[in-house]
Amino acid sequence: MEKYLYIALFAPFVSSLFSALFAQQKKMQFVGIVAPILIGISLMSSLLLLSHVHESGEAVRANLMDWIVVGDMNITFGFAVDQVTAVMMVVVTTVSTVVHIYSNYYMDHDISFNRFFSYLSAFVFSMMILVMSDNFLGLFIGWEGVGVCSWLLIGFWYHKKDESKDVNPSVSPSWAANEAFIVNRIADLGMLVGIFLIYWNLGTLTYTEVFAQLGTLDHTLLVWIGITLFIGAMGKSAQFPLHTWLTDAMEGPTPVSALIHAATMVTAGVYLVIRANPLYSQIPEVSYGIALLGTFVAIFAASMALVNRDLKRIVAYSTLSQLGYMFAAAGLGAYWIALFHLAAHAFFKALLFLGAGNVMHAMHDELDIFKMGGLKKKMFWSFLMMGLASLALAGIYPLAGFFSKDAILEAAFNEHTYGIWFVLWLTAGLTAFYSFRQVFIVFLGDERYHEIGAHPHEAKPYALWAMSVLAVLAVIFGWFREDFMEFITKFLPAYEMSEHTHHMVWILTIVTTAIAVTGILVAFFKYSKKLNRSEKTENSFAYKLLYNQYYIPHFYEKAITKPYAELSEIAWQELDMKVVDATVDGIAKTIESSGDVSRRAQDGNLSSYLKWMTAGFVLITIIAVISVVIK
């Protein structure tokens, strides 16, 4: 089984290196064929590993090499595939394979076709390291690796003009890439501190050893470790207040948004909390904080999605919101439910993004949904799949989102945290509304795209076929909830609902479905015939507040970015130029001017040389005389 572990891990790496060979050259079709095949091989190996873990119930372990061996410190480059990892691997490779195939269609005319595949496969490799590592340091390597790939891919079209937010509210790819990287950098510092704390106190970083020894640490320390690790998770999963980068990351190509900024990388934070469940179950106060933050982000992001007009940003906000759900579940101790929602979300959210990619292609990269409409006629299959994904997202029976989101709501109810339950319930309604607002505005109603001169066309069949895999999963994945629970709870703690909750389940289900259906109906009546826009609403304070993302980006710009830039300016002008540079320049100038003076001695005139010689002779004589006299 070790063999399959290595194949699953290194096939994406080979794919990346292979594509990188041709990175500087113009499009080569075989790159777009080889890369998906290699990722597919990784998927096959992951499936084999999953079935092996399922049958044996044991984790597959492999030790690639001793990595850092210094004194007492011994950190190995080890991998372990247990139940959680196997699920993550399958989710990652499934979505990756689909996205790799789809990219052939989406990046068809891009000049950097080969380079794109190289980055995309490198991302998959990093993500595999992240989920497969059996210690915190390996996780951190993967963590940074996906960060770099995310940076490379958000800024893939780096040649677009670089403009700050003042000039262009939709920012440029290079700006967005830097923002994402820097925000993650800040959060990663927190995570590093957490890892240091663990190593400092336990002397090991391997998960099994760390979690076995947690009892020996005192509570305050555990709280600190929990908080610092979660700060890392907040950055990667774009939780408030580090959330701004995710929507700006939509500047990257759409397959990237589907793979990295919806299905896989952003869920790494949730994965970390699930992975560290023995830690978080010992610090309920931090866990509760995580649940509260998750709940807040869920409704916070959903509210911003209500009014947004950007096709991709709406989906990005819904990703944020769903990540909030996952954190809420994980914070409440329902780890397996969080993982279940993570997997289900990966499928339907990737599908939603790929559908958005089809629409973008059809509309010649137009993103304003108010300029679309009536696309159903031209793009029926995209409509169908985006509709399915939105239904799953809204949590309509019997799609995947229904089972996973319902379980989270049940868990919130079961914990007697009715506040959390209520907010998440309300968010479910908002989710249904904004996702169908988008679907109806884009696909139904009058055909406004004539105004911008677009000629919509359906995506190529193979792209649709690739997407259909995700569509099928988005529909059926929820049906395996019981099997999933049985499988995963061999590793993760089981989550028991109380008797009371069991009695209430059907009421909860009806209530939740009711609000979701209400959301869809409101969207239907408001947007399905034609685009209803009222000046009054759009000029109201609430609308503007939401449209401007609560002015948080503005606030960051004014309160952090600008002052920091000014501080840097001062440090440059005052400190660097006037102290550091002045000192160095001073030394150089002294030497130069002394040379300038003494240079005149060497004028080539024998007479003056003789004078210098005589002067030297006299000087030496005087010194000799004086030294004799002193003696």
Binding site: R599, A601, D603, S607, L610, T614
Partner: protein, 101 residues
């Protein structure tokens, strides 16, 4: 008045100073040669007088060596001077300088 060692040494010092002043002040290469010759002979006087004063012949031998070296030096030096004069048409040091420090 008897002539003592001090007289010789004072003469030697005066001659040496004259030679040194000539080396510093003179601009003509030929005159520089004359000045160095004067300095050499100042040294010779000091050698010979001290040698006779302490009854040791090696000082006088040294003076003979210096005379021999001075003679050969002048022979070579004058040859060079002629070449320089042929090439530049002058022996003025200020005009012979080619470097611009």
């Amino acid at each position: 008045m008897t002539i003592t060692l001090t007289h010789y040494l004072v003469l030697s010092a005066i001659l040496f100073t004259i030679g040194l002043a000539g080396v510093i002040r003179r601009k003509n290469l030929l005159m520089l040669f004359f000045a160095t010759e004067i300095m050499l002979n100042a040294a010779n006087i000091a050698f010979v007088s001290i040698s006779s004063f302490i009854n040791d012949l090696s000082g006088q031998m040294f003076a003979l060596f210096i005379i021999a070296i001075a003679a050969s030096e002048v022979a070579v030096g004058l040859g060079l001077l002629i070449l320089i004069y042929k090439k530049y048409g002058t022996l003025d040091l200020d005009k012979l300088s080619t470097m611009r420090g």
